[in-house]
Amino acid sequence: MTTRDRYMLELEGMLSVIPEVQRKEWLYDYYIHFQQAVENGQSEEDAALELGDPKLIANEILLSYRVGQAEKTGSFGKLSKAVFATVSLGLFNVIFILGPYLALAAVILALWASAAAVALSGVAVIIESVWNDTFSLAQAFTVCLITSAIALLLFIGLKSLTTSFYKLTLKYLKFSTRIVKGNNK
């Protein structure tokens, strides 16, 4: 096996999560690079050395892929993966990206839970009133109506808050990777 094959295999192995078409396209750059380096009279060993550690290269490629996915789909799973891909680029990111991300995500989750609790409390009042006659049915329904309205407003507000959190995280990821990207040399 030549140095080129070894390098390409190692790189490809680490990029297995990326769908084949896109993965092949990214790998093609490196394949061609070897080709051209050899044409220019360089040895494959030198070319591999010059390209850098395949692990670091794979991390950078994975990061662009994750951020791209998160941007396209808008799902929180994808966003978290992008955050973790950034974190894998260095210790710096654990402090400046993962920490704030987890903290803010927890706050937003807590807010959603509170809004849900408010919504449920109205229903609980009705059930309680039917069961134990604590309030008259009319009173219970009024309370339920009020809490539902409050919950609805909370949901609307939270939805836009969550969307901006998502967008800001992506922006921040892109910004910080521009600074940290490739501390590999």
């Binding site: 690079h33 010059e50 290269i57 490739g182 590999n184």
Partner: protein, 106 residues
């Protein structure tokens, strides 16, 4: 040269290199790594990021030897993005130079 520094300016250099006609990946990667000591392999992810952001468009072209090469062409947005970065860079270096000169005055 400082790493953080290098990475910040890499983007400008890649964009500027493509202003005089389309370049293929290898050309850009080697040109960049000649000047700055960066891993050549990390230029490619940068290129694909800039392509994703719409600053480059790419096309394949047959070469005399070997497989077709991937060429990078600066788009309209690429041009304005580059100008914006250069303006930022110039005001940044100007400020740094002023402070350095002030500080080193006898």
């Amino acid at each position: 040269m400082n790493i953080q520094f290098k990475k910040g300016v890499l983007e400008i250099c890649v964009l500027v290199l493509a202003t005089r006609g389309d370049r293929y990946g290898y050309e850009l990667a080697v040109k960049i790594s000649e000047k700055f000591e960066v891993a050549v392999g990390s230029v490619y992810p940068l290129l694909s990021r800039l392509t994703q952001d719409g600053y480059f468009s790419t096309y394949l072209k047959e070469s005399n030897e070997g497989p077709p090469r991937k060429y990078y062409q600066l788009t309209q947005e690429g041009w304005s993005h580059m100008r914006r970065l250069i303006a930022e860079w110039e005001s940044f270096t100007k400020s740094v130079n002023e402070i350095v000169e002030e500080g080193l005055k006898p």
